[in-house]
């Protein structure tokens, strides 16, 4: 229960950060990605602040035996740079550049009653399900590993 409430608080803070920094506005994100147009540096600064704050959390976490409301830390330890990672990131970046939404902002933007974030989010879920079906079909070969976490 406490962990669930902690996760809810984390989600609220995260959503607040997305709105405050204007990352929920696809036009703002596309303006950052448009190097040849009127470039908007917002996303770079948001990333800088976010990486800094997440690094502090990670440094603290490394000194702890376990999280406050949990039994252990689940931090990805995979260091392999494989084809799935690169291909997946490239496809994601292409979709991101087409619309200006990545998963977090698309979900946060659902609140405004616009239809576009809903359509995007529905397509995103279908894309996720498709990847799982394709992945399951290809997993009979022992060399293929499932994706897991970042």
């Amino acid at each position: 229960m406490r962990a669930t409430l902690a996760a809810l608080s984390g989600g609220i803070l995260f959503g607040a950060g997305l709105a405050l920094s204007d990352m929920i506005n696809p036009a703002r994100v596309l303006a950052f990605l448009d190097l040849a147009g009127t470039w908007d540096p917002t996303l770079a600064l948001v990333m800088a602040g976010a990486v800094l704050a997440s690094a502090v959390g990670y440094i603290v976490a490394r000194r702890l035996q376990r999280p406050w409301f949990g039994t252990s830390f689940f931090i990805p330890e995979n260091r392999r740079l494989d084809r799935q990672l690169i291909a997946g990131a490239a496809l994601f970046g292409a979709g991101w550049g087409l619309v200006g939404f990545c998963p977090g902002p698309a979900l946060a933007a659902l609140i405004f009653g616009l239809w576009q974030p809903w359509l995007f989010a529905a397509a995103m879920l279908i894309g996720m399900a498709l990847q799982r079906m394709v992945g399951a079909a290809g997993r009979h070969s022992p060399g293929a590993t499932s994706a897991g976490h970042p």
Binding site: R2, A6, A7, L8, S9, I12, L13, F14, A16, G17, A19, L20, I24, N25, P26, A27, D34, L35, A36, T42, L45, V46, A50, V51, L52, A53, A55, V60, A61, R66, P67, W68, F74, L81, L85, I86, G88, A89, F92, G93, A94, G97, L98, V99, P103, G104, I111, L114, L119, A123, M124, L125, I126, M128, Q131, R132, S146, G148, H149, P150
Partner: protein
Amino acid sequence: MIAPFSIGYALGGGLLIGGAASLLLLLTGRIAGISGLVARVATIADSGPPWRLAAAFVAGLPIGTALVARFVRQPHIEVTSSVPLLIAGGLLVGFGTRLGSGCTSGHGVCGIGRLSPRSIVATLTFMVAGFATVFITRHMLVGG
């Protein structure tokens, strides 16, 4: 028209985002990777945190956004993409984030924060792909 660029909102929002990721990590031991959490909520992920935890985090996103919209700053959302582009973009983002094990939050914010080589490579890759896509759609396909 997008509002003028604001250093304070950008940095402040970024610190909130990273702080939220730190809070989730320190309190629950989980990485705030939104694509992974969403897949978990939709029960299309093989691994990840308990469903309730993932659902609580994902539900918090629009709540936090609504709170800022109500009390701090009314965001202006401008989606210019056509229906086919929204669908194609959503499909690519969904498929790609699962294949590549993460998105802007899991790889970009959390992964780079702990200097994960996979996340650094993934972030550079999706950034370059994003730059290239916008360059093609805005400067090569449109005769402008």
